[in-house]
């Protein structure tokens, strides 16, 4: 059984929770649908976004250097990191130079990718997440289960319990407004105490050297308002040519992600405030390799909206933690394989090839098609499941020989069960919730031969 199948089985054992999780995420998918259907030119926008991304990643060096030039002229410091380790070191060096002890962070998947928070904590720097969902996860000591909705798998009663312990809220009170106020009050202290601010980057505009951070809580703005140093970290695919491109992506991002016309805050950062320092760290960490991989280069078009995750019927029923990579769903299956097939091939089974992901993706990434391609790679990489291989080889043998196929059916009919090649282990798996189909008394082939098809 694949690592995903194992974890999924465990998650699904709690059917009530599975149904709740599925509905919560389907609700987001439906909001996305309503928003998309409210924009008549939606499909044209997706097509343009996809082509614009293709253009940008095809000229990545050009746009990144343009961005660097303009950002530097604006007074920001631009750093380049080839991998996670270098990224962490650059960030830590900046913090150290300013004697920083308290980092206030807005949500960034890149920092998860690089393992920044544990890296800093080992070195005595406290990193506080200021996004509410991320803060809940930090209290719980677990990673986000979703890239946009980090705590979507947690029920409010559970949040109440955690806050009782961490923030001394009233026992038993799980009123969302009450809990949000409590978090806000506590975070206020963190905002005031912070000496370094960190944000991710949704879009870096090459033509101006500015970058854009989208949040719903205003926590990025709050976080960057007090400290003297702002460090923004970005994957190098985040660069967009200009404001026309930005306008296009901004129209698509929040509609796709959460079904909002736009995020509550779309914050533009162009130059450091007087007396403040602004640092931008541009990270490769494997992205150049993706650029050279024609089957999967489209992954660099990703806006990280999470819509493919929300629509994925497998993800909705199995939860973010059933995937071994830190990003779940179709995007995570693919990015995990690009990171390390050896480590993350256990997620490739988590797909029925329903293709809903490819249909919702605002950049028209061929997510399902790429999962199909990864499956073809498993055997050459010696990562295919031996059970599946056994079934397929048996199937191939029988199907290539019609006489064998039809006698297998006869044998199966007599034994009133599936032929041996299907029987091997897999019968149990089919039988966990389903009856096996009965063979017909005669195949269509036999009927035709006997002239019974009229």
């Amino acid at each position: 059984m694949s690592s995903h199948a194992k974890a999924a089985k465990k998650f699904i054992a709690d059917r009530e929770r599975t149904a709740w999780h599925d509905q919560a995420l389907y609700f987001v998918r439906e909001k996305r649908d309503r928003m998309a259907h409210g924009v008549p030119e939606w499909e044209a926008l997706r097509k343009t976004a996809s082509r614009m991304k293709k253009h940008t990643i095809s000229n990545l060096a050009y746009y990144l250097e343009m961005f660097e030039r303009n950002a530097t002229a604006n007074g920001a410091h631009v750093h380049w990191a080839k991998d996670a380790e270098e990224h962490n070191r650059i960030v830590y060096d900046i913090i150290q130079r300013h004697g920083g002890k308290h980092l206030i962070k807005s949500k960034s998947m890149l920092s998860e990718e690089c393992g920044l928070t544990p890296y800093l904590e080992e070195r005595g720097v406290e990193a506080v997440e200021s996004d509410l969902g991320e803060r809940i996860m930090q209290f719980m000591g677990t990673p986000p289960s979703h890239i946009v909705l980090p705590a979507i798998h947690v029920k409010r009663e559970e949040v109440g319990k955690v806050f009782e312990k961490e923030l001394h809220t009233e026992p038993g009170n799980s009123d969302p407004t009450y809990l949000t106020h409590a978090a806000r009050k506590a975070l206020r202290q963190n905002f005031l105490n912070a000496d370094i601010a960190m944000t991710g980057v949704n879009f870096a505009v090459a033509s101006s050297g500015a970058f854009v951070v989208c949040t719903n809580e205003g926590n990025a703005d709050m976080g960057t308002s007090f400290p003297k140093v702002h460090i923004a970290i970005m994957g190098m695919e985040k660069v967009v040519p200009d404001y026309d491109a930005l306008a296009l992506y901004v129209r698509l991002l929040a509609r796709s992600a959460t079904g909002q016309p736009s995020t509550t805050y779309t914050s533009h950062y162009k130059k450091p405030v007087e007396g403040q320092e602004m640092h931008i760290v541009i990270v490769d960490n494997g992205r150049s390799d993706i650029l050279g991989n024609p089957d999967h280069v489209n992954m660099l078009k990703c806006l990280r909206c999470g819509s493919c995750i929300n629509t994925c019927p497998v993800y909705r029923r199995t939860g973010g933690y059933s995937y071994s990579y830190f990003i779940p769903g179709p995007i995570g299956i693919n990015l995990g394989m690009l990171r390390s097939p050896e480590k993350y091939s256990g997620n490739v089974s988590a797909c029925t090839l329903c293709h809903s992901c490819s249909n919702v993706c605002p950049a028209k990434i061929d997510l399902a098609e790429q999962i199909y391609k990864w499956r073809q790679q498993l055997d050459p990489l010696h990562l295919a499941s031996s059970e599946k291989k056994f079934i397929v080889k048996g199937l191939k043998l029988v199907m290539e020989h019609p006489a064998m196929f039809y006698s297998a059916i006869k044998a199966g009919r007599l034994a009133e069960k599936m032929p041996r090649f299907v029987l091997y282990n897999s019968l149990d798996a089919w039988g966990i919730g389903r009856e096996l189909p009965d063979f017909a008394p005669e195949t269509f082939n036999e009927m035709w031969k006997k002239g019974e098809v009229k």
């Binding site: 059984m1 694949s2 995903h4 199948a5 999924a8 089985k9 699904i12 059917r15 599925d22 389907y26 649908d33 998309a36 259907h37 924009v39 939606w42 629509t311 019927p313 497998v314 029923r317 199995t318 089974s349 988590a350 797909c351 029925t352 090839l353 329903c354 809903s356 249909n359 919702v360 199909y372 499956r375 073809q376 599946k388 291989k389 079934i391 397929v392 199937l395 191939k396 199907m399 290539e400 019609p402 006489a403 039809y406 897999s426 798996a429 089919w430 966990i432 919730g433 389903r434 009856e435 009965d438 063979f439 017909a440 195949t443 269509f444 082939n445 009927m447 035709w448 098809v453 009229k454």
Partner: protein
């Protein structure tokens, strides 16, 4: 016009009545139908499971079996679209040079090629339409709920020609049923969970039958219905389109 009837492996073995209905329906519309003997499998299960190369010989066999027909028509959207999309790669041929160019799912064939607008069919029952993923998102038998495009449905158009029928759709109109070929075995827990949810959604429409253009999805849901003794049945759309007053 000579049509070669493509009968996928599990229809041959488990649902031959779907093949019979396909034959009847096509001949009743004046089509010259032939069934090339000894068909087995198109190779989709191997390919979707990650062993595409193991489908090459099956593709060659299919190509050979159907080379003398103007059209190839099959009652399974998923198998048809596999042939259509993957055979050119498997056979290393241009699309127009192989079967892919001449193969149609039967509803697609009735609707788009024959342009049927009248049927002598009678089915006085409530049915819930199963919009299968491959039928909808790969073969474009209708507009998927995710896409912003004019709503259309080949299946519903055809069912509207049936006398006495009442047609419904589940609330999640095109959510996957969880079959997914080898997925149903490799990820059995998730597959069953999705299937149960889907069957319940179909039941909530008040329909007596779930119908669709993919026997594989129907087989998966039928397995769940029979295990849980649920009050609904499955029927391939072709059987309904070929149903007549007795």
């Amino acid at each position: 016009m000579k049509v070669g009837l493509f009968i996928p492996c599990y229809i041959n073995a488990v649902y031959p009545q779907v093949g019979v209905a396909s034959y009847k329906l096509l001949t009743s519309l004046g089509v010259d139908v032939d069934y090339p003997l000894n068909q087995t499998c198109c190779g989709q299960p191997m390919a979707n499971g990650g062993f595409e190369k193991d489908a090459t010989r099956l593709a060659e066999q299919m190509e050979d079996l159907f080379k003398r027909y103007d059209y190839v028509v099959g009652p399974s959207a998923s198998c048809v679209v596999f042939v259509k999309e993957h055979y050119p790669t498997l056979l290393r041929k241009e699309e127009h040079a192989c079967l892919s160019n001449r193969i149609y799912e039967i509803c697609e064939f009735l609707h788009d090629v024959l342009k049927v607008n009248k049927l002598d069919a009678y089915f006085p029952h409530k049915v819930s339409v199963h919009n299968s993923c491959h039928g909808l998102r790969l073969l474009h038998l209708g507009s998927p709920s995710e896409l912003v495009e004019p709503r259309r449905s080949t299946l519903k158009d055809l069912l509207s020609l049936v006398e006495g029928i009442e047609v419904f759709e589940p609330k999640r109109v095109d959510e996957c049923c969880g079959f997914g070929g080898l997925f149903s075995i490799e990820e059995a827990a998730t597959s069953v969970c999705m299937g149960q949810d889907k069957v319940r959604d179909h039941i909530s429409t008040g329909a007596e039958y779930i119908t669709g253009a993919d026997s594989s999805c129907l087989m998966h849901m039928e397995g769940i219905i029979r295990r849980e003794k649920l009050p609904i049945r499955t029927k391939h759309i072709v059987e309904i389109l070929a149903s007549q007053k007795v």
